[in-house]
């Protein structure tokens, strides 16, 4: 935590992004936990042995078995030889690069648009790369089967690691490391996780050749480096890459086999690999927008073009006038210009609900494409009647279910495709009403995946039925049962005499508290609330009605009331793959204070809300609320001091809806797959199965 804190406090966005590398800089967590997710997911169930009844999510990584078995061990051994031959030469180069490392790392860190996505991709790929390259651990985890084959592979992979460590050496740990390959491997546990990831994967990506579509991006990932590196350095880097490529061609075959097998075994991952891409693209321009100069954008562009073919369009940047114009013309809901936008948040969709609602209502009958039930849900989103990740997701799914029920394929169209476009149009309508929550995004992915997977031969009515039951199943399994499981887990953490603090209104937390009360536990609840939504009052009302002992306070009293608290229970809109908890604005503050007071913070979040995105601040992705509500103090006519100031050009109102809580403020995340420390979330993101 400590290394990141100072960074975060600086307000310059460029500097803030330095924090990017550090979240991963925690000690490399055991792989096994992430696998627990895989194994418990239905997708991977086939490839993973059941782990018995224990609640503990910690297990031996099962998919590896299959994966490593699939790898022809014989092939790797001879291949390792030429590599090690070239090793020496490369080492030199790496040292060269390593010498300039400090400059480079700064560049790397200073230009997150390039590094962040790429590194994330690598992580995504590292599914297998860790596995292969971190064989020491691996061997430990299942020693008997693999020891021999890995021994052969190790040498080659160690080499690759050294290349990586030398070539990129992101974390600034490098001065020591690039001496010899062996030493790199040995120091592995000591080296920060990130640097290894980035480097390994840089390297790996080249090896994979065409195996992954991401290859392009990866190869170009070090591009920003070029701007500041000298010619010699560039050549060094290039050569390193070339050598790596050569090695890859030889070793690659085996690895591709390995990879394909792996991906085949865990279908969730193939999707992951795909889904990483859009988000990567999303994030890149987002972060650039405020700070990065135009030259860098030029660097971006060719890459973007390459990707465009198979990648969905990036998230709208609302400070891009041309795009906004374009979208406006297409929009079903009239988009209005919000005035006095806060500079830092210009890229977000501005709050316009106040003017949108009447307009949307007036056009009720004109919107042909939208199913009534979807329309109703959209209206509810817009008017704020349905809010909260779960409720919005459920409402959307139920509306889609109804829409699917009423759907009939138009002549000369394929059921699956036409339905997908229909659903997409519904979704874009819903987005116009309110930006999607991450939970909804995941549910949509699930639904689309299901539609895509429908067998062609299936009759329309059967397909509709199966989709509807899929939706029901999703709601049931991923939300209802997940909540119940979370409640069971969390209740174990409540003891008699506890004082539990919660913030705002989270459905899961409410269920936990109520359930604990029903179990007869004797505890007190402190509800911390904040304007303008005052959602805590709703929770307060319900808890009091159930007979719980409650204290209600506002967030400005948090530092005082935290003395009393034994534990903090928080809900989350999403948990991101770097462990960041994305939640109602104010959560980060509560978590931070709790951390300062050494109060454990338990975040309750269903696994379907996990997302592979990495987010370091609340700026690049957020949602703006109605700026006027923070002006108005209900019931206090006298205190509306700002009345009449709204039109002043010097006044910019900002009402953020979400914030990002860094993982180090969170002691534990309670999911339906068990309780995990937040750092492990690093891996959760990649294995999280959508379906």
């Amino acid at each position: 935590m400590d290394p990141r804190r100072p960074n975060r406090t600086v307000s310059d966005p460029k500097v803030r992004q330095v924090g990017f590398v550090t979240p991963a800089a925690t000690t490399p967590p055991p792989r096994s936990v992430s696998d627990a997710l895989v194994s418990s997911s239905s997708a991977a169930a086939a490839s993973s042995p059941p782990t018995g009844t224990s609640l503990s999510p910690v297990m031996i990584p099962p998919p590896r078995h299959g994966a490593s078995d699939g790898l022809p061990a014989r092939g790797t051994v001879p291949l390792a030889v030429p590599n090690s031959g070239s090793l020496l030469r490369r080492d030199n180069l790496q040292i060269l690069v390593g010498a300039h490392d400090h400059n480079e790392t700064e560049v790397v860190l200073g230009t997150p648009p390039m590094t962040s996505p790429s590194s994330r991709i690598h992580d995504g790929v590292s599914e297998f790369s860790d596995n292969a390259s971190m064989s020491p651990w691996y061997g430990r985890s299942d020693p008997d089967k693999l020891a021999s084959s890995l021994a052969g592979r190790n040498s080659e992979l160690m080499m690759s690691k050294s290349v990586g460590a030398g070539g990129g050496s992101g974390g600034g740990h490098t001065p020591k490391s690039p001496l010899t390959t062996a030493s790199v491997v040995k120091t592995l546990p000591g080296i920060s996780g990130t640097s290894i990831f980035i480097l390994n994967n840089l390297h790996l990506s080249e090896k994979q050749g065409g195996a992954l579509g991401i290859q392009n991006d990866l190869a170009e990932a070090p591009m920003p480096l070029k701007e500041k590196t000298t010619k010699a350095e560039r050549r060094a880097l290039q050569e390193a890459q070339r050598a790596a490529k050569a090695a890859a061609k030889e070793a690659g075959e085996a690895l591709i086999h390995f990879l394909e097998f792996y991906r085949g075994g865990v279908p969730a991952n193939t999707q992951q690999a795909k889904s990483v891409k859009p988000s990567q693209k999303k994030d890149a321009p987002q972060v650039t927008a405020p700070s990065v100069s135009s030259e860098k954008k030029i660097v971006d562009r060719p890459i973007e073009k390459d990707r465009k073919k198979d990648v969905p369009p990036p998230r709208m940047q609302f400070d891009d006038k041309h795009k906004v114009e374009k979208v406006k013309r297409r929009a079903m809901v009239n988009q209005f210009e919000a005035k006095n936008r806060v500079e830092l948040f210009r890229h977000l969709p501005q709050y316009i609900h106040g003017t949108q609602l009447p307009d949307l209502e007036a056009k009720f009958f004109q919107l042909d494409a939208v199913h009534p039930s979807v329309y109703k849900v959209g209206l509810h989103y817009l008017s704020g009647k349905i809010s909260g990740g779960n409720a919005r997701c459920i409402a959307m799914l139920l509306a889609f279910k109804e829409a699917i029920n009423d759907y009939s394929t138009p002549p000369e169209k394929a059921f699956g495709r036409d339905l997908t476009t229909k659903i997409s149009s519904y979704i874009s309508f819903l987005i116009e009403c309110r930006p999607l929550s991450i939970s909804m995004g995941n549910a949509i992915k699930f639904l689309k995946h299901r539609i895509a997977k429908l067998p062609l031969a299936m009759s329309e009515s059967d397909a509709k039925l199966s989709l509807q039951s899929d939706i029901d199943r999703f709601i049931n399994e991923k939300i209802e049962i997940a909540d119940k499981v979370i409640v069971r887990h969390a209740v174990a953490k409540i003891r008699d005499g506890d004082v539990l603090l919660t913030y705002g209104l989270s459905s899961v937390v409410e269920m936990i508290l109520v359930y604990a009360h029903e179990l007869g536990k004797d505890f007190r609840v402190v509800i911390v609330d904040s304007r303008p939504k005052l959602e805590g009052q709703v929770l307060l009302r319900r808890l009091i009605a159930k007979g719980l002992n409650c204290t209600y306070t506002h967030i400005n009293a948090i530092s005082y009331i935290m003395h009393e608290a034994k534990r903090v229970f928080l809900g989350a809109a999403s948990v991101l793959s770097n462990g960041t908890v994305y939640s109602r604005v104010g959560t980060a503050c509560v978590a931070m204070v709790a951390k300062a007071f050494n109060v454990p913070v338990l975040v309750c979040c269903e696994a379907y809300k996990f997302h592979e995105r990495v987010q370091l601040d609340s700026i690049c992705f957020n949602e703006l609320g109605d700026p006027d509500v923070i002006l108005k103090v209900p019931g206090h006519v006298a205190s509306n001091y700002l009345e009449g100031c709204v039109d002043n050009d010097n006044l910019q109102l900002l009402n953020l809806n979400y914030d990002a809580t860094p993982s180090d403020y969170v002691s534990m995340i309670i999911t339906d797959y068990g309780m995990v420390s937040c750092t492990l979330m690093l891996f959760y993101g990649y294995v999280f199965p959508y379906c």
């Binding site: 209502e361 056009k363 009958f365 209206l379 509810h380 349905i386 209802e480």
Partner: protein, 460 residues
């Protein structure tokens, strides 16, 4: 499937007694010309503009139905799909609905009065209805200022003559729910409010400046249930709506609706709503926001309550009902004047509409906010102000027409003066007739030199 699961019923009425000299057997209320277009066309075009093209038009009386049907099929042959249903005269709005209720299938029904002239998008009411999951949603608009405001010739007296009738409408503080409604006639002595409703809401806003525009969105199952069970209900506004408002908190309607919908069609709105509700309750109890004051304060009644919502039209929107003679002349004036976008005509530079085939004599002036339809002839030295003159009228010299409506085929001889009057089709005004605030029924002949003031002249 019907559009957005809404069906539209237009209650075009029959021969209304309020408009006695104007309407007749030959001219049902729906076809009364407003700016030389039947009043019904305003509703139909409003609906057409909202993409609602499958309509049911209910007309009282077989003859009237035929006339209306004939007109619609002529005017909207390929634009709208209209079914005209004839109901016996005097059954009232509820009766009219009852007779067609079995044809309704959609989730919700939009009921529009045929005499409504407005530019409030019906979608807005429908959307509000959907958003709240209400049993009934009604359009309220600010009551019209009756009488010509600035001409001052008739307005003042007219107002003085009639007692000012206000509709008393009770709203919740958010102005979304309808808590009380009483028409002017009922509010002579006291208003009786229901304690329970008042308790549930905490605060009620009583408004007298709003008017029920007779544009309702009903939940079909509920509407059908009420129509079935309450045989005596005659009128939507006087019976059904007050009943629904009264029983908001002790609803038998929604339960009945639920029962019937469960036994009947599998996919009804009520059921869906409850499913929704229960889903949210069960899964995420806290996420179902208790934003509605009704359920907030009285949660145990929640299951048994239904919602009556309102949509209050924006001040800038025009909204008027042609339900009296005064309203008739007001609307005529407004459609040519301030609400000119409704008329669908393009105005000349002088802010009036003169059909190219109309003939004007020398020194004849037609002021702004006037309309002169095709084939009409005006003699010399005439003056027309703020008036609508229909087709093929023959108007002599030295005639003054102010603030009046002259329908088709009217003959007006020299030297007449007409103020604030309505002159129906085929009327003959002989020389030097002076009319002030009069209504002249169709085919009537006013003898020369006669003067009338505030009279209703019609053939016996």
């Amino acid at each position: 499937m019907t559009r957005m699961d809404f069906e539209v019923v237009v209650l075009a009425g029959g021969a209304s007694s309020n408009l006695s000299p104007l309407v007749s057997q030959e001219l049902p209320k729906a076809l009364l010309p407003v700016a030389n277009r039947p009043v019904l066309s305003y509703v139909l075009e409003l609906l057409e503009g909202s993409n609602l093209k499958d309509l049911i038009v209910v007309v009282e009386g077989e003859d009237a139905a035929q006339l209306v049907g004939g007109w619609i099929s002529g005017a909207y042959a390929d634009r709208l799909h209209v079914e005209v249903a004839a109901v016996p005269e005097g059954v009232g709005t509820a009766g009219a609905l009852r007779s067609i209720s079995s044809y309704l299938t959609a989730n919700d029904v939009l009921i529009v009065s045929g005499d409504l002239v407005t530019d409030v998008p019906p979608g807005a009411i429908a959307a509000t209805h959907r958003r709240h999951g209400a049993v009934v949603t009604t359009l309220l608009c600010s009551s019209p200022v009756s009488g010509p405001s600035d001409s001052g010739t008739s307005g003042g007296k007219e107002k003085a003559k009639k007692p000012v009738r206000h509709n008393i409408i009770g709203l919740d503080p958010t102005r979304q729910y309808l808590l009380h409604m009483a028409t002017g006639a009922e509010v002579e002595k006291d208003i009786r409010l229901q304690k329970r409703i008042l308790q549930a809401v905490g605060q009620m806003e009583i408004r007298a400046d709003l008017m029920d525009a007779h544009l309702y969105a009903f939940k079909r199952t509920v509407l059908q249930d009420i129509l079935d069970q309450k045989d005596k209900f005659q009128s939507i506004r006087q019976d059904i709506l007050p009943y629904l408002i009264r029983t908001q908190l002790s609803s038998e309607v929604s339960r009945n609706g639920l029962v019937s919908s469960e036994s009947g069609s599998n996919k009804s709105a009520v059921q869906d709503d409850l499913r929704w509700l229960s889903q949210h309750r069960e899964i995420a109890p806290s996420t179902f926001q208790d934003s509605q004051p009704l359920s907030l304060k009285s949660q145990r009644d929640d299951q048994r309550s239904h919602k009556c919502c309102v949509y209050i039209a924006n001040e800038s929107k025009y909204c008027a009902r042609l339900n009296s003679i005064q309203a008739f002349s007001d609307i005529n004036r407004d459609v040519i004047g301030e609400a000119s976008h409704l008329s669908g005509y393009s105005f000349s530079a002088q802010n009036n509409i003169i059909h190219p085939s109309a003939e004007l004599g020398s020194k004849t002036t037609v002021g702004p906010q006037c309309m002169l339809a095709e084939g009409s002839k005006l003699g010399d030295k005439c003056s027309v102000k703020r008036s609508v003159i229909g087709r093929h009228c023959r108007i002599g010299s030295n005639v003054k027409i102010v603030n009046s409506v002259v329908m088709n085929h009217v003959t007006i001889d020299d030297g007449c003066s007409i103020q604030g009057s309505v002159i129906c089709s085929n009327v003959q005004l002989q020389e030097r007739v002076v009319l002030k605030d009069c209504q002249v029924g169709a085919g009537y002949i006013v003898t020369s030199g006669s003067e009338h003031k505030s009279e209703s002249l019609a053939r016996k």
